[in-house]
């Protein structure tokens, strides 16, 4: 066990995966000598060499497109897209190619690859270093989408994603890259994909969050507890495929739920969660579902703390839902 932050835990996951399997390759901009702009890959080029850690030219199409080719031909590429905001030049490759190879070859070919990318606001990065585009990928049949909130889950989920036979987009909450530290095993381990985690159990309201906003949801739940409202907080961990059972059974118990995410509200993943839970737990609901999300605008700079669904906006939502 070593006390690690998210950056260190993800690095440890990459290192262990590369030690275990020679076919695991890294690709990305500035990931070599510099170790990536967030230093996640620091020291990996030194340990594994420049032919397993490709410090690529500036092209997300090139990174994701060639990673697909490598995955088709026996390797296990893990790409880093420097910021989620810059994934779009590779969007065609992800949506039309990575996501569809298995289907269009009747299962003969598939693309076992991971695309890691830091996402979200809170680093004073303005509209191009703050986006949360997870819904675009959840909407794409064939892609899995993972978003850990803490170092232990991050390493375990990443190692599992690398072993997974389908393409996985791995969103890393950069707002808390260095803010959370916990004991993480040095050796390899797995956290299975597709399992949410109840991080605080409660009886009156279910609050669903992931990534950096999990901490806001948790702190809002503590505040609500002080005002007599007992909140259950669920960390989704894997966004798709969704752990529907954990969510439904929580909402059947509480009868009320609040979804929190950074992405804009309209067609955000919250919309799908509201639909799924309303369809499945309708007769248990005591209050209309609530979404606390980023506003439907591009991500701002000066007022990013008013844009983000931080605890100050979650608390009133929890209290109102509980008292509806």
């Amino acid at each position: 066990m070593t006390s690690m932050n998210l950056v260190q835990a993800i690095r440890s996951g990459l290192r262990e995966a590369m030690r275990q399997d020679d076919d695991v390759m890294l690709l990305g901009e500035d990931i070599g000598k510099l170790g990536g702009v967030f230093r996640v890959t620091q020291g990996l080029e030194e340990e594994f060499g420049a032919d397993r850690v490709l410090d690529t030219p500036l092209s997300e199409t090139g990174i994701i497109g060639t990673a697909i080719g490598m995955a088709l031909h026996g390797l296990r590429p893990v790409s880093e897209i420097q910021f989620a905001d810059f994934i779009y030049p590779g969007f065609d490759q992800l949506v039309n190619e990575a996501a569809k190879y298995r289907y269009r070859t009747a299962g003969e070919l598939h693309v076992p690859m991971v695309v890691r990318t830091p996402y979200g606001g809170g680093i004073r990065g303005g509209q191009y270093h703050s986006q949360s585009p997870e819904a675009l990928f959840i909407h794409t049949p064939g892609l899995k989408v993972v978003c850990p909130s803490n170092p232990y889950d991050a390493k375990g989920l990443l190692m599992e994603a690398i072993r997974d036979e389908d393409p996985v987009i791995f969103f890393e909450p950069k707002r808390v890259y260095r803010a959370v530290k916990m004991d993480v095993p040095d050796e390899p381990y797995a956290v299975p994909l597709g399992q949410a985690k109840v991080v605080r159990s409660g009886a009156q309201v279910t609050c669903v969050a992931w990534g950096a906003m999990l901490y806001e949801a948790f702190s809002a739940a503590e505040t609500a507890a002080g005002q007599g409202v007992d909140v259950e907080v669920i960390d989704l961990r894997t966004l798709w495929p969704l752990d529907i059972d954990t969510l439904v059974s929580s909402v059947e118990k509480t009868g009320r739920f609040v979804i929190v995410h950074e992405a804009p509200r309209t067609c955000g993943f919250g919309s799908e969660l509201v639909a799924l839970l309303t369809e499945r737990a309708f007769l248990h609901l005591e209050a209309p579902p609530v979404r606390v999300t980023g506003w439907d605008t591009p991500f701002p700079l000066t007022h990013e703390r008013e844009y983000l669904p931080l605890a100050h906006r979650i608390v009133p939502a929890l209290l109102e839902t509980a008292r509806y």
Partner: protein
Amino acid sequence: MHINRADGTLDPSLDPGLSIDQLVSLYKAMVRTRVVDDRLERLQRQGRIAFHVGSMGEEAAIIGAAAALRDHDWIVPCYREVGALLWRGYPLQRYIDHMYGNAGDPVRGRQMPDHTFSREHRYLAVSAPIGTQIPHAVGMAMAAKKRGLDECVGVFFGDGATSSNDFHAAMNFAAVYQAPVLFLCRNNGYAISLPAERQTAVPRLSEKGAAYGVPALRVDGNDVLAVWKSVREGVRRATEGDGPTFVELATYRLGGHSTSDDPRAYRGDDEVERWRKADPLRRLRAHIERRDAWSEAMDADWRAACESEVRECVQRAEETPAAELGDLFTDVYAEPPWHLREQRAQCLDGPRAEGEEHEP
């Protein structure tokens, strides 16, 4: 191409014949940009602004190209070219207000520092995604041609951008449609940490223009006269109907990629020291001093004047209130639809956040 020699003499066969007043103005603009850069870097280190991306070492490439374009020609920037905007007379106060994202910021605190815009100065809005502006410049040039305007467009981008999809699409369209556009490729040696020779396997990026049928040349980007002359020739070609030109401005990024970068992780001090000797400011200064149009005392005075100008702007920017919260919701569409009116009300009537964000 190489005109301004290190000792301050000029190659007489290539000298474009700028007046001494023009040369002194260019030098003063380059120094002013350097002083502003320096101050902003310190402000970021003190946590007073979020970020800065500077142009130390690239002033000749940026300001020389801006000076060779005509004032009504659009400049389509990457993000390192504020020197070109200041050259066109953009008020320094407005730029510093932008750096603070305060109520004086023309882009209303929406963009990261150094992502500004001025329609009045024909300087297009900076976008962080690399390469995306290059086809816009081509389209604007196609529009100018279609509308019969006596205009061309100068688009800046780095060596890294020549790997982007958009770069290739732009080259191809520009050549096919003979758009009056100048591709101003600041080859400053690095894309963050990746050296240019690992970005692209051809040694001259200008070949990437030539491959598409865009006449291309490579010039010493630290030689303001060579930059001016080659860009002015591109302007002539564009306005006479000869289509696009690609100018590779070979230069060097003396500072980090931005204030978030620590270049010691990927390059040695000796390399930087070598390039310091080729500092574009030094060379132009040597020339104007040689012609007795500049002196040590004038240099010190000018730097001091620039420094106090920046200091005053910073002070005013810090006294100016933050950009309006309600502005978060404007300009998404021409008219805010129901959902944005509703969200605006929710936000303004809702609870306020406490505290400040910090770098991760």
